[in-house]
Symmetry: C2
Subunit: 331 residues, 2 copies
């Protein structure tokens, strides 16, 4: 299979943007035309862009844009947060790898980026669609010298950083759904997962995991997710350079992380509230022990969501799933 796969790439690359007939491929590789078609599907899943025509055959329109270390280093020039980058082809989950490295003593600023995740993880143990070459799947080791109580503020900070980063790369309306999902037109464009490990009141480390659906096409999603998930390509119609997304995020994160460590949560809170698309809209909140309705009106100084109930009282919500009538939080 692998030999066929590499041979097909060779044949298509030999005639870029020109059609190679299915029959020729079938003959050359000595496999059936159905087998050729299957190989093409596999190539597409790896990030190759292939146009198929029943009459003309197949032509290669784009290769997966592999992230490379030199390219990333150029794009990150002038930043200091990231101290080492581990670029991997296919991993189960970048979170697992970064966590293992952190346990073994990896310093703050250790960044793990994978081309593909076979078992990407989202909030609440949900899986995360992360096909090869089409998204940014990365995990960053942070060792903030803050008490455990403040860790949830980093979740909100990361959402602000990613939102500002994506807005700097694509001219799209992107907003934050509490606490840290980013939405375009009500559909999820990215996922953030901060995994914290603490001893007593001391935060040992935080693994900030970020997944951005950059160049995913509708076919990359299970059908049931298309109503709730999108990609920068689907929403904006343009292929986006993944390296630019990585670099923009790191720049924003570095800036906001410095602001946070210098001035505390105040400025982050203001930015988060300005970018939120879920404030001042009635919603249903599914907390661990109760379900209730109310209208989120902002954050408190701890990072809890302030929700105004029907009776006018305002309660801080530390943890809950938010569900609006018009959107859901798949991914």
């Amino acid at each position: 299979m692998n030999l066929n796969y590499n041979r097909i790439i060779e044949l298509l690359e030999g005639q870029p943007e020109q059609y190679v007939s299915g029959e020729a491929l079938s003959r050359e590789l000595n496999i059936s035309r159905t087998a050729v078609w299957k190989q093409m599907k596999k190539l597409e899943s790896q990030g190759y862009r292939i146009e198929a025509s029943r009459r003309l055959g197949y032509r290669l329109m784009g290769k997966p844009s592999k992230l490379t270390l030199p390219e990333l280093l150029v794009k990150l020039e002038g930043t200091t947060l990231v101290r080492s980058i581990k670029l991997l082809d296919s991993v189960d989950s970048t979170q697992n790898i970064a966590q293992q490295m952190a346990e073994e003593g990896a310093p703050e600023g250790t960044l793990v980026i994978a081309d593909q995740q076979t078992n990407g993880r989202g909030r609440l143990g949900r899986s995360w669609v992360s096909p090869a070459g089409k998204g940014v799947w990365m995990s960053l080791v942070l060792r903030p010298g803050i008490p455990l109580q403040f860790a949830p503020q980093l979740t909100l900070l990361t959402a602000v950083a990613l939102c500002r980063a994506l807005k700097s790369v694509v001219p799209l309306e992107i907003g934050i759904k509490w606490p840290n999902d980013l939405l375009i037109g009500g559909k999820k464009i990215s996922g953030i997962l901060l995994e914290s490990t603490a001893e007593d009141e001391r935060l040992r480390y935080v693994i900030a995991g970020v997944g951005v659906s950059v160049n995913l096409e509708p076919e990359d999603y299970p059908k049931e997710l298309l109503d709730v998930a999108t990609s920068l390509l689907i929403a904006g119609g343009e292929h986006i350079d993944r390296g630019a997304v990585v670099a923009a995020f790191i720049r924003q994160l570095e800036h906001l992380y410095a602001v946070y460590q210098r001035e505390g949560f105040g400025p982050i809170r203001t930015l988060w509230e300005a970018l939120s698309v879920t404030l001042h809209k009635p919603t249903k909140l599914y907390a661990p022990t109760e379900v209730f309705e109310g209208t989120p009106i902002g954050l408190d100084e701890r990072g809890a969501l302030l929700v105004e109930k029907a009776d006018g009282s305002v309660v801080p919500v530390f943890s809950a799933e938010m569900r609006f009538p018009e959107a859901n939080s798949g991914g």
Copy 2:
């Protein structure tokens, strides 16, 4: 070596509380008298109490009190918090085992107890002296449905539970040093380490690790620790049943954990303040980013330590090491 070891136990047990001469043992085992002496040291390190007389030889005064499951189950009758108990002989650290079990889905109430830890862990990566048969070294999996922000309150709750438990077992003055060390006469009697793991603002699980120096003798400690560490045996002069310590702790924890989940941190805070021996005494606080002096005056509703500074201002301290002139925090 092992054969000798078991044979010596047989020979000593054959004449309980009576001396067996070193010469007889040496002859019987066909090893040197120095080798006999080494075996005795090994037995002592395993929890056997042996009296040695240059003239009379060795006599067995007490065997290690192995914790057994039936005994623990009887002592825990009527409690519901603990759902499964794993009793182990020698482990690196009960924290590691409980954590692995929690990662694999072990439910709340999974208790790991070891007779001996070869690499017991304390706060700040310090090692913890945990010889065989002489202490309570245990870790309990908790899955409290509380937001991450509240996790440090559990550390304080655990200190209250353990303090009340030990006071119910021995008639000694035992007090809490912030946040969770227990002291007798300024010396450390136990260690508590709560390791929390969170995804965003959700606490996935907490491993509550408790080490109590029950029947340790001065010889069990490195010399430099004797000024700062003690045991229930050293402080009270009596051998204490380790099973009773386990059961008393679980009963107290179950009670306080239920109070906390029902009424919040208020009642726990009151109990903690009443048991603290470090309030209202000037101290030096070593926080991650600064060192300052002040007088702890209580806890705030989050669990932070309220410290009054020289200028009369009161600041909340979330994380710091407290050092008094008269005691240190070894262990």
